[in-house]
Amino acid sequence: SNPFEVKVNRQKFNILGRKTKNDVGLPGVSRSKAIKKRTQTLLKEYKEKEKTNVFKDKRFGEYNTKISPEEKMIKRFTLERQQNYGKKNIYNLNEDEELTHYGQSLAEIEKLNDIIDSDSDTEERGTLSAELTAAHFGGGGGLLRKKASSGQEDEEEEKPKSRKELIEELIAKSKQEKHERQSRRESALELTEKLDNDWKEIQTLIARKPPKSERKDKEVEKPKPDEYDMIVRELGFEMKAKPSERMKTEEELAKEEQARLQKLEADRLRRMRGIDEESKKKPSHVSADDLADGVLTGFLYGQDGKMNIENEEEEEDNEEEEDDNKEEEEKEGEEEGKEDNENEDSEEESAAEDEEDVAADNHSDLESDLESEEEAAGNKEQKKQKTNENESQNMEELDPKMEAAKSELPYTFAVPESYEKFKSLLAGRTVEQQLVILERIQKCNHPSLAVGNKTKLEKLFGFLLEYIGELATLDLPELKTIDKLILPLYNLCQMFPEAASSSVKFVLRDTAHEMEEVIEVKGRAAFPGLDTLIYLKIISLLFPTSDFWHPVVTPAFIYMSQLLTKCRITTLQDVIKGLFICCLFLEYASLSKRFVPELINFLLGVLHISLPKQQAQGYTVVHPFTPVGKNSELLLVSDKKDLESWQKQNLPLSIVARLKETGRTEMNHIRLSCLALCFDLIKRCAVLYESLPSFHEIMHPVKILLTQHVPVNEYPEQMQEWYHSALKELENKEKHYTPLICEKEKPVPLKQYTPKIVKVLEFGRKQGGSKKEQERRRLIHKHKREFKGAVREIRKDNQFLARMQLSEIMERDSARKRKVKELLGSLATQEGEWKAMKRKKGKN
């Protein structure tokens, strides 16, 4: 439009994605629109102010927009007719009044219409030509007008044509059209036919197959699909064989193993330092990026953990394959393992092979057939399940016969429900058999095979632990068996760390509470049995002892410290047990180099009791050792002969369990071995703790005892060697003290706010707050806007009214002025005339 009428609201910044609706305004147009509207409404109201009489339009449906104009007219017409009808009898004089339309009787028109209608119906259903509709509904006017606009002068001349003629013309025209259409269609048909024929002729040239066969093919195609197609489709639906990982070379395997170990070691170190993963990864100020990181790493970590376990399982399998020739057969990978197992077992025990076995073998043959098929499809999972089912069947079949062939090992075992059952299962078996049984239980009830297997195997760990404890408490502890049973225990622990840790903790808690009760009652406690010592040793095998905090190892540490400080030392066994625990402490702390005061105290005490009774000088022994007392010479050996005949021997653990009062000489030898062990432990402690800043203070009492009180020269040569190596380790450490300096306080970082990023749903909308709050704010905003708009409107209305009043006044004034002028003028002329007359008179 006119550029002078357009007002452009220039934007300072282009904001992406914002739709602007007010960038162009047409003030002139909108003002005139507003004024027009006001004149229509407000002005009218103003003018009708204080006027009670109203103009009422009583025409039917004049203001009803719902009724279409046609209907309105029809209704009005009927109303009119009704009115007329009522009056007709009484007042209407010319009854046979003919209704006309454009000077023609309506009745006639109706007749004609009927004819045309029937005609058009036959022609085309539904579609009406524009002319026809114009003729029918638009009244004759439309037709006429059109004719006029077409500008055909000759027809214009023939304008006075009658209606009849017009209609006739129309009919003729439409007939002609119809004919033309038909002929066109026919010609098209002919053409296509011709084209078809031509194509058939050419087709023989183009297509390889003769047209006849092709036609035949077409007919046949549906009922009998191509064999090739079938195969293709089948293949499409079949599971695709996944590409398996290629076999790894030895080097790669070694490298992988190395990488895995490195990773595990790094993990261990991290745990040893007690770096809290969560606290590290969760900074106090959480910004969007950090959150994402944390989530990601957490996720990865979880995955890793899982993967580790799996890896380890695999590793176990691999390693065992290599190492244990004896158990190689059982230890192979899961899948082959089962088949092999059966085959080999059947070989081994072919002498006692019974029908069931044959049946089983048959089964397995069948099964292997099946499997080979399935393997082609790469469906390992199914296969596993199948074998499992099969085996469970076997088991059921075997069960009744088990009594008969008790001496043999069945191939499958259910996990025993209770400890008694477990014990009876293992009772009377050799160690190897027990191992095989455990192995098979694990295999047959692998958690991936059935749902309940996991809990069953978790229980198995507890049973095994209990069994080991029982073996250790026997009069003649079966330590060799325990030694062998560690392996399945370790494997189970790797499979179910949580269950394993909780059952170990349970055992620990039991023994610790027992000891506490004894202390409460008696005021002192005795060293626990060999089983507890074995448990503590097992903990160091199953769990990483270097962790800063570990759910099992940390309680074990505390328990051991209690043992060393609370338990009375009254016999030689107690000393051996105590030294065993010292060894455990050293082993636990070997990697993390953690400081164990109890350990040093105990070693000092052991040294003390190896000395003849005397007043301790320069050192103090602490609980449970006493400087003077009846047990203060427990390790003292004064027999010269025994001293000379002593040879360093490994202390058999079984003497811990029962007193082996074999003889003075042997007792003395054991004493000396304990002393040697003590020297060795001191040496190891010295190596372990040399990095501690107060190493010399820690070792000071031990050193004094070693240098000043121990009667070195009385010891046999071997013992002197031990002594000197320990003393050397203690003495050749440099004294080195660096004054302590606090860590510099980290400067408190300025608070930085990362921009708060919220999802933008709609531009220009205020975000934040609850839904209710948002709604409230929206309503307030709306109300404000409406209010402002209303005020503006009212102001404009008032202005408009004022303008109107002013113009009215002006008009009135000007009218009055004009009238006054007129009056004055007329008066002037009157006056003039009067004066003229007067002059005339005067002249006259």
Partner: protein, 254 residues
Amino acid sequence: QLPPGLYKKVLVILHDSILPYMNEPTLMIDFLTVAYGIGGAISLLALNGLFILIHQHNLEYPDFYKKLYSLLDPSIYHVKYRARFFHLADLFLSSSHLPAYLVAAFIKRLSRLALTAPPEALLMVIPFICNLFRRHPACKVLVHRPNGPGDLSEDPYIMEQEEPSESRALESSLWELQSLQNHYHPDVAQAAAVLNQSLSEIEDDISGLLELSASELFDKEVKKTSANVPLEFEQVRGLFGKKNDIFADHFALD
């Protein structure tokens, strides 16, 4: 002169069953001073009665702190009356008018003795020492000596010195607590690591820690649950089958 058992029994109940009902509590002065001079557990127990006399009856005890200092020996962390002793020691050392050398000597001696203490005692004594640092900021040189001499070849502190003022404690540093940062008990290690940073202003409340027992510690640790349990990754070979197993050298499986 009483037998030791009776001595202890009397001293245990002295402060709340005997002294409050005496018309002339000061009559007990001689008894308590003698008991305090005996040494060992009896001295520890006599401390309580003495405290009441000093506190409420204007007893002047010459070289009281020296005597208290000499009471500190390795057994204080192991004896039954540990809680009582440390409760009183806390009271005696709460005065802010004590000279820095004295407090430093106490700190140094306590931490030196802590090298043989069980974890439950350590968990109590480390906050105790931290509190002493808070009360006597002059002692903070023990943990923070920025401009001191470089490397020393000997700890300047003299343990054997009976006189706190001669013990040169203020020239030393708390290497003992630094060693305890490697303690096997995670809580102890964490508590000791507090001294690496500058201390907070608020004193730790040690009243709850005084009565801590080993079994409580054990229960606390056992009750902790953890979502994932790290496992040993080294494959086992048998009971003594670890690499460099100490047991294999000294014990036999028969």
